[in-house]
């Protein structure tokens, strides 16, 4: 009986995470179209519902009502399993994200590793999708996805190592708490290069512009999901945006102090803003990163494929290596102003 209640409770908690997440994905698509439109001096979708607020639902409905075409030469089962394999890790990673102090589904000690694993796992779904479609464009997209993810994972992993060294823990809550004090204690300052490297490889990991080699409409049509229509395509879309939100969440946890208030440690403002729950700060920080995602997309053209590889291997990885050495020294010899107490 107890275990059943426990399981139910967990299922409820999962629902409480996944449902808002799905809705945010829906509205992220709208926000993306709106923001990009604004940067083009357009006004974007504004017809469906008030200010176009029902547009995402219209889009979802349209996708779900469409026929799902399965290419005759494809590998049926893998073809159908691929979208799920992409989406599942994108959602599963949310289990360890602490939304506020104590507000986390699974407070595991290797949280960072778990996230790292989950965010790289979804590339298998992409690979399978590309292979199972039995189409040359899908295959090329999948190959690109594999190469790109493998390259950028290294840089991302090293960026994580920097955070690990600084915080002395892989538990995401501990990492956030290690940044408490005031806004200057957040890791984006002492780990600035790693912050940038993490963000760039995060954009590359989610295959977003300007690193959307995997889709590359003008080169390989739509890459790995070229053969998908209707619900399958919707799942890929959902996964892509869920991953974006995930990367933004991790970025705010690791570098912008998660749920910590930016006014912490400032005498007067701290008390004024004390009533704001941590969750709000966390969501605001995520919103900032998501806006950045869209902003990048509106600004930069797609990289050439070899340049993406060059950037990953010859620029980002050396930078992270150098900065890891710097951070290690700072931590080891307690060099201030950030690393002068043991363990912080």
């Amino acid at each position: 009986m107890d275990t059943i209640m426990n399981l139910l409770w967990i299922a409820l908690k999962i629902l409480a995470i996944v449902l808002p997440l799905t809705i945010s994905v829906a509205y992220l698509t709208l926000a993306e179209r709106k923001v990009i439109a604004y940067m083009h001096s357009r006004i974007g979708p504004n017809r469906v519902g008030f200010l176009g607020l029902l547009q995402p639902f219209a889009d979802v409905l349209k996708l779900l009502l469409k026929e799902m075409v399965i290419p005759s030469q494809s590998n049926r089962y893998l073809f159908l399993a691929a979208p799920v394999l992409v989406l599942a890790p994108a959602l599963a990673a949310w289990a360890v994200i602490p939304f506020s102090k104590g507000l986390v589904l699974a407070n595991i000690n290797a949280g960072l590793l778990y996230i790292f694993m989950m965010s790289s796992l979804s590339v298998y779904g992409v690979l399978i999708a590309g292979w199972a479609s039995n189409s040359k464009y899908a295959m090329l997209g999948a190959l690109r996805a594999a190469a790109q993810t493998v390259s950028y994972e290294i840089a991302m992993g090293f960026a994580f190592v920097g955070v690990l060294l600084a915080a002395g823990s892989m538990n995401l809550q501990t990492i956030v708490l290690a940044q408490s004090g005031n806004i200057l204690h957040w890791y984006f300052l002492p780990l600035l290069p790693l912050f940038f490297v993490y963000w760039i490889s995060g954009v590359a990991e989610t295959n977003r512009h300007p690193f959307d080699m995997v889709e590359g409409e003008s080169e390989i049509v739509a890459g790995f999901h070229v053969e998908y229509a209707g619900a399958g395509f919707a799942l890929f879309f959902l996964a892509e945006y869920a991953n974006m939100i995930l990367i933004s969440a991790v970025a705010s946890l690791l570098f912008l102090g998660g749920w910590l208030s930016p006014f912490e440690g400032i005498p007067l403002l701290e008390n004024v803003f004390a009533f704001v729950p941590g969750l709000v700060w966390f969501v605001l920080k995520m919103g900032f990163f998501l806006f950045l995602y869209i902003w990048l997309r509106a600004t930069f053209p797609r990289y050439r494929y070899d340049q993406v590889m060059r950037l990953g291997w010859k620029v980002l990885i050396p930078i992270t290596l150098i900065w890891i050495v710097v951070v290690s020294f700072a931590v080891k010899f307690n060099i201030g102003p950030w690393f002068n107490q043991a363990g912080v």
């Binding site: 923001v35 940067m39 001096s41 357009r42 902003w295 509106a298």
Partner: protein
């Protein structure tokens, strides 16, 4: 050497990328130029070449004298004309058809017409639902002319100085 160092630092510090972001960021707050179509419309020139029409004189007589200049000049061979004398002895078209699928809306027919009979109106919102509807017969063209005569006349008057 210093040049290369400068370039290296510029790309390492992502300066150009920040400049790009700054530019798009500025446009984010700029005035939007969207024309909200069904409610708002972009202005059209009096020379706009839209749907065709055959005009009449103010006494109701059709202008066309079946000279077939438009048929000859049409680069898309979209116009088909057959003519015969009418009971009062004047030369008139018995068949005047424009195939709108062939038409490239070049406006040559309008330019060539000696009596300002075939014209292109500023009407651009029309559609066909069945095969064959794209053939504009004489009746249809005259009806369009009747419907839009005031607009057509105004457009001709506005452009008269340049002709």
């Amino acid at each position: 050497m210093t040049d290369r160092l400068k370039r290296f630092l510029e790309s390492l510090l992502l300066l150009e990328l920040f400049r790009g972001l700054w530019l798009t960021g500025k446009y984010f707050f700029k005035k939007k130029i969207t024309v909200q179509f069904p409610e708002e419309k972009t202005p059209t020139s009096p020379r706009f070449r839209g749907l065709h029409a055959l005009r009449r004189y103010s006494n109701g007589e059709e202008r066309c004298i079946a000279c077939k200049l438009c048929e000859v000049v049409c680069p898309a061979l979209a116009i088909t004309i057959e003519s015969a004398p009418r009971t009062d002895g004047t030369r008139r078209t018995t068949k005047y058809e424009i195939d709108l699928f062939k038409c490239i809306y070049c406006g040559f027919c309008e330019e060539s017409c000696p009596v300002d009979s075939i014209v292109e109106t500023s009407e651009m919102h029309y559609h066909f639902e069945k095969r064959g509807e794209e053939i504009m017969t004489k009746e249809k063209l005259l009806a369009i002319g009747d419907k839009y005569e005031s607009k057509i006349a105004a457009a001709r008057a506005a452009d008269a100085f340049y002709r």
